[in-house]
């Protein structure tokens, strides 16, 4: 699945896009990311699936567009 990263998270990941396979829901994805990128631990961010904010255990499929969203600060 394709994962987009924004704002402070893109900075931590040092990229704004990556491929990942495995996690079957957003909770598993979050745990996996925190292992790969320890700086994400304790960070406040939301996960969007196909451009909608997803609940904590939202099931993922391989075609989903995932996005990691730190707190918004537009305007």
């Amino acid at each position: 699945m394709k994962i987009l990263a924004f704002g402070k998270i893109a900075e931590i990941l040092q990229k704004d896009e990556m491929e990942l396979s495995g996690p079957e829901d957003t909770l598993a994805l979050r745990k996996r990311l925190e292992i790969d990128f320890p700086a994400l631990q304790g960070m406040d961010f939301k996960i969007a699936v196909n451009k909608k904010i997803a609940s904590e255990n939202f099931r993922l499929n391989k075609e989903a567009e995932i996005a990691l969203l730190p707190p918004f600060s537009g305007g």
């Binding site: 987009l4 451009k51 969203l69 730190p70 918004f72 600060s73 537009g74 305007g75």
Partner: protein
């Protein structure tokens, strides 16, 4: 408002502008909106990058990034809700993307309605919700090129 006019309106409710939102563009939008004769009230909000002092150093610029497709979808929902609740005839958001210097404009919101209360409260709701709900991020840049991520209150 019938379904057809409402779906047309959804096409361009949030527009991202590269760099600052110029005063000429704002003037053009106001002139366009004021050609609607059945409308009595326009409420407008303009946001400008402040040269805030943070830890002794002044913000020189904010660099905006956004998840643009999601922001546009969400903006349409926000405007649709406000239009229903406050009888707006039309509404539009211009938001900067990229770097905007202190003193420059980064946000323009307009809501028009037959009556003043609808326009004023509709515009206010759109501004409040866009700050909370649109996936847009501001990076505050200081004179020594250091930065920090903006936080909305």
């Amino acid at each position: 408002m019938d379904f057809f006019s409402r779906s047309i309106k959804m096409i361009a409710q949030l527009i991202f502008i590269k760099g600052s939102v110029g005063s000429e563009l704002i003037a053009k939008e106001i002139i366009n909106f004021s050609t609607m004769k059945q409308v009595g009230a326009h409420s407008i909000f303009i946001g400008q990058v402040r040269n805030d002092l943070i830890g002794g150093d002044a913000v020189q610029a904010i660099e905006y990034t956004a998840y643009e497709e999601m922001a546009k979808e969400k903006a349409s929902e926000i405007i649709r809700t406000a239009s229903g609740e406050f009888q707006l005839e039309e509404a539009k958001i211009l938001h900067s993307i990229g770097k905007v210097k202190a003193g420059e404009i980064c946000l323009f919101v307009i809501a028009v309605s037959k009556h003043r209360k609808g326009a004023i409260h509709g515009c206010e709701q759109i501004v409040e919700r866009l700050k909370q709900e649109l996936p847009i991020w501001g990076k505050e840049i200081f004179s020594d090129d250091s930065h920090q991520w903006k936080v909305n209150r």
